[in-house]
């Protein structure tokens, strides 16, 4: 009895379906990789599928978090992939120019420059959207196209390899036996949660995304808010770029973060944030990103034939989305729900209502 009500409460929860999907995906792996959930210590750090999911998933999580805010303002940012490439390229260039690549100072300088570049990209997008009023998808498409070029310009089309322990830490290294990127992600998540929920930023963003004109009329400086969102998104992409390049100790202007924007948007939506703007859910986004990374890993581990990768991905995505859609559940499991629905009981008509109603002659 109370159990069923508990169950209903659980299923009502926003994160129920995303989490279910995630768990399901993880479990699928077990028959193919018996030791899937095992985690053991390999030369000084944790090692196992779950670990690598987190490790390889971190950049996506970061980008998706930034994307969440942009989408909440009713926008979208297609340029994150390019920004990833730019920041990675710039950082690696700087590091590789150092005499001693391991010098922490040089690496920090590289980070600073890369993030500065990412920030500029964010500001650029923000200005195009908020100041010039260009439609977000097209405004960011510009940087999506040109940004790749810039990244390749930086690397002059080559792959810049760095051999710097310090640099490889952020995206590939371990700390306290855990992937260092885990800490970075955690930091960013905490920051963004604080930024949006401890301050009023979250509310204002949701207002702007929910009804721009109304927001203007209550005096919200929606332009600033939007610009901030794009800048934040740019920064997240920048950090992701550092991670991706650091993970392989090399910058690949052309391929780094290729199509990551689509996965990020996917993650955001799976996480329960609507592309029309307004309400946003960072927690959901993180789950969404993990789902996608797990999906990727699953494809590799269960030996899906290469040519069916995409079909497999498509099917999983659509199933997850259908499961989340109340309309779908209503239509499919609707029949039972109907019957379980409240039986019509005689309603409590207020006492002072006339008991018998006069009928017109």
């Amino acid at each position: 009895m109370s159990l069923t009500s508990l169950w209903r409460a659980a299923t009502q929860h926003r994160l129920f379906w995303p989490v279910t999907a995630l768990v399901a995906l993880l479990v699928i792996n077990v028959p193919f990789t018996p030791g899937f959930f095992e985690i053991h210590l390999k030369n000084g750090h944790l090692y196992g599928s779950l670990v690598s999911i987190v490790l390889f998933g971190s950049p996506l999580i970061l980008v998706a978090i930034g994307m969440t805010l942009v989408i909440a303002t009713g926008g979208i940012d297609l340029s994150v992939g390019a920004v990833v490439a730019i920041s990675g390229a710039l950082a690696c260039l700087v590091v590789s120019k150092q005499g001693n690549e391991d010098a922490v100072g040089g690496v920090l300088l590289a980070f600073a420059l890369a993030l500065a570049a990412a920030l500029v990209c964010g500001v650029w997008n923000g200005l195009l959207v908020a100041r010039l009023g260009i439609q977000p998808i097209i405004a960011t498409l510009i940087l999506m196209v040109a940004g790749r070029g810039i990244a390749q310009l930086i690397t002059s089309g080559q792959i810049i390899t760095v051999n710097s322990g310090a640099y490889s830490l952020i995206g590939g290294g371990y700390w306290l036996a855990l992937p260092f990127s885990l800490f970075v992600v955690a930091l960013v998540v905490v920051l963004s949660m604080a930024l949006t929920r401890r301050t009023a930023l979250g509310l204002l963003v949701e207002a702007v995304g929910g009804n721009a004109e109304a927001s203007r009329l209550v005096g919200i400086r929606s332009r600033r808010i939007k610009i901030m969102a794009y800048v934040f998104c740019g920064l997240c992409a920048g950090i992701a770029g550092l991670m991706i390049s650091s993970n392989v100790s090399a910058a690949d202007g052309n391929n780094a973060g290729l199509w990551i924007e689509l996965d990020a948007i996917l993650a955001v939506v799976i996480g329960g944030t609507s592309l029309t703007g307004g309400r946003f859910h960072l927690g959901g986004t993180i789950i969404g990103a993990l789902i996608i990374q797990t999906l990727t890993t699953t494809i590799y581990t269960i030996g899906v034939p290469t040519q069916t990768n995409l079909v497999f991905k498509a099917v999983v995505v659509i199933v997850v989305c259908l499961m989340q859609s109340p309309a779908f559940r209503a239509k499919v499991f609707g029949a039972r729900a109907q019957r379980r629905g409240p039986a019509r009981k005689t309603p409590g008509v207020p006492a002072d209502a006339p008991q018998q109603m006069e009928v017109s002659p």
Partner: protein
Amino acid sequence: MAEPRPVLEMTGIVKEFAGIRALSDVDFRLFPGEIHALLGENGAGKSTLIKVLTGVHPLDGGTVVLDGRPVRITSPLQAQQAGIRTVYQEVNLCQNLSVAENILIGREPVRAGRIRWKELRRQAAQLVTRFGLDLDVSAPVGSYPLAVQQLVAIIRAVGSGVAGDGGAGSGTRVLILDEPTSSLDRDEVEELFALMRRLREEGVAIVFVSHFLDQIYEVCDRMTVLRNGALVGEHLVADLGRVNLVKLMIGKDLDELEELSEHHGQSQAGETVVKAEGLSRAGAIAPFDLEVRTGEVLGLAGLLGSGRTELARLLFGADTSDSGRVYFEGQQAALREPNDAIGRGVAFLSENRRTEGLVPDLTVRENIILALQAARGWTRPVPASQRDELVAKYIAALDIRPADPEAKTGSLSGGNQQKVLLARWLLTRPKLLILDEPTRGIDVGAKAEIQKLVVSLSEEGVAVVYISAELEEVLRLSHTMGVLRDRRLVARMANGPDVTAGRVLEIIASGEHQ
């Protein structure tokens, strides 16, 4: 004579939203050739009943019988095909389409599948003029003021019935009007009533929702009263006096209305809050001077489209002015954005709550807190405790239902949404409060509350600009009156016993003020 068979009979109607009962076991019947008032407080369930009938929301229980045949209507389209035409409460038009299309879309005149645009415009213009309106039917409907849009929506609904074309809509059996007059002026209301009477002669059954009791008593034959989603009774209008009606609606006597008679004592002329000199905006309103002092209520009267909203929007910086200057408390202000004005203690309740007021996805609490929060900036959130206390206070003060700060504002009833917006501005403690149609869609009880609120605010020294399509309301509340005509401020005068509705209308008609 024997009672004719009802054209529509709804019995035991039940509707739930996420467990909340909006309608419980409501019966409703409608006879051909009658105008039937559907009455109740804000949130009583009127609109929901209508939406359930026309297939916007699925029924959770109960039966609908149309012309003696039980029917299951699952979409507005079906409702139309069954001869039920509806004007929903919030104006529902496609702002991007022309007036003509909004009136006739779905029934466009076609030859061999090809739309005949000339004919379309001709028919539309014909309907519009038949309604005594004079509009450019090829202009986008979004370019017209809300009031005009409401008329267009009405024309769309009744038009089909009148212009008996072969389309899916011909032969209207039932016409449903959910608060059609909430933003209309007398003349339009008159036109509407004339039309309704004409249709009644033709045997059309009309459901009429309104919070204006006089209008009810003017046109309706029969009424059904709801309270808290339950049926309270069905009566002949002739059988039930106002006082009893109100009593039925809100479940308690209402005498405050009388008590709050002709208030406009001497405005204890305080210092100037706002002063406009030659302020204007091309195509919207001609240059005007205006001054409002602390504790003064300035009422703006004028016909639909006369420029009241525009005037207000200029004072608030919602639109930028072409010429003129504004001074707040002495020093000049450049109003580029609303928050320039808000920073100086101005608040503006827009007449158009859906597009310019609500953030429907946000909760009541968030909507209420929004203006205050915006003023404080994103870095300084309103402390939770203080916030909840404020919100709770205003929910109680304005009697917002459901009194749940977590409720999604979009799901509130029209009147309650209006109250939320009012609360939003009140807790910014403005120096100048601009109210454009604040009582639109608000029920009798709440209306009285709001009017009293205005009075007490002015007593606390708040300067108020009060715009309402309801002249009496303006006359009753304001210390000074401004009269607009054709987007020009033609007269300003101190309110007094000598200033009567008749006199104001005279000025509006003649255009000058002796």
